[in-house]
């Protein structure tokens, strides 16, 4: 039996506390620059298309992962899609109950071969179903920062 298993509290064992003192600064990349600028400036979604594989990537890619082609064809895609799957989240990262449950969905964007993970809003969890048609709700232009949270959430269409 190890010492740690025998002691009542971990601090009773000799310990040294340390942290890894780093923060990461992630560039959004070559295609990310345009994708997020369109969201911020125009409230629009753009993807890139591989003509060889006939795939529209969203989020957009610089290259086709299947055939490795350099993707230079940009296509504007709808801000609508379908719920491919969803969950209802009740706890935060620390395990504390959320004031309101969050509905998180994988939204297959119309006219593309990909999608986005995002919140669903203006809908009750009981009303959500797989296959539901939804649309993006953007923040006001002044509030947008060029990030995925410039989309406030997706809500049911109609």
């Amino acid at each position: 039996m190890s010492l740690l298993e025998r002691i009542a509290h971990p601090n009773q064992a000799k310990v040294w506390y340390g942290e890894i003192p780093i923060q990461s600064r992630y560039t959004v990349g070559i295609t990310g620059e345009r994708f997020f600028r369109e969201i911020k400036d125009n409230g629009r979604l753009w993807g890139t298309r591989c003509p060889h594989c006939d795939l529209v990537y969203i989020p957009p890619r610089l290259y086709c992962e299947r055939c490795f082609a350099h993707l230079e064809e940009w296509v504007e895609v709808p801000t609508t899609g379908r719920v491919h799957t969803f969950t209802v989240v009740h706890l935060d990262l620390d395990g504390n109950p959320l004031p309101e449950p969050r509905i998180i969905a994988f939204i297959q964007i119309d006219g593309t071969d990909g999608g986005l993970i995002h919140d669903l809003g203006e809908v009750d969890p009981e009303e959500v179903c797989i296959g539901m048609c939804v649309e993006a709700v953007f923040k006001d232009p002044a509030e947008r920062r060029g990030s995925i949270t410039d989309i406030r959430y997706f809500r049911p269409v109609g």
Binding site: W16, G18, R25, Y26, R61, L62, E65, R66, C67, F68
Partner: protein, 388 residues
Amino acid sequence: MARNRVAIVGAGMTKFVRRAQETAKELAWEAASKALESCEMTLADIDAVVIGSAPEAFDGVHMKSEYLSDGCGGWGKPIIRGFVGGGTGVFSAIQGWYHIASGLFDTVLVVCEEKMSSCQPHPQGAFITIFDNITERALGPNLLWIFALEMNAYMTRYGLSKRDIALVAVKNKRNAADHPAALLGDPNITVEDVLNSEVLAWPVQRLDVSPISDGAVAIVMAAEHVARRVTNKPVWVEGVGWNLDTAYWTNRDLSYPTYVEEAARMAYKMAGITEPRKQIHIAEPYDPFDYKELHHLEGLLLFDKGKASEATALGITQRDGDLPVCPSGGLLGVGNPISAAALMKVAELFWQLREEAGARQVPGQPKRGVAQAWGDLMQVGTVIVLGV
């Protein structure tokens, strides 16, 4: 044991830069697609992918090979990530070799990527846990401590001066001025510049050190029957070796890299090399610090202990010398995106042995070269011997 013969048939790299706008995946894709183009192959021709990348903390992404896989051409293919710290770049080529030598695959794309600029405020923060958490971290160490202590031990053992060692930085940064992908090439740098640069941790000064960098490098490896079909200039992997010393750096003689010698002996034996000083025509030893080139040349048995500096002063290690060392410009000149920097050395041998190195080409039609990297807890040596 029967092993299939393996060649390198293509290579490509991004520029090494201080801060890349590209994501890590985009860097990997650029290098990988250039390597494929160089041998007129496509992803469909590739059986498996080897991904090399150093600590996760640099890119700030855990399970980095899964993250990088699509940029490395790994979609729908068997992939593996090799990781031995700074030794990773050469080790990834070794992994590519045994994937094919074993008969499991005919073609392997090896891609090494590092994006150190993501790591804020400085990649040193990511290195802190390589020290012993109990006996060393309380002292607030950083990586420079290791190098400074090792450099001093090496200098003192062999009676070398700072000036002797600065010659390496000058040679490599001047060589890098001819490399189109280099970050710190400088045709006019002098020994005085190195000796007058900022002292970081004595005896290590600013220009004794390679720069943190972003970049990616890729090579295409193939079994003999494929290699002969795709190129008339295959560069054969003749030997590989790797070795680790104790994880306690306080239990090693810091003036000599025994682990590099052991790795070199393994690779030379496989390559049938009995007299490395005669049979090796170019060397690309790992040079994150100027003294490390000398240290590693001795570990590679290319010079007697303590004598690599004398050879440097005599010009033997210049591009037109008897044993060109780091004709690429090395990490000191081209840059040091960890794993990519070491695979760059393998790619340099590929270009040199095919006589495709342009302004960097060493004269005399070299037939065999050795590349080496070093890392982990400063105790791993990885070695590959290539020949035509």
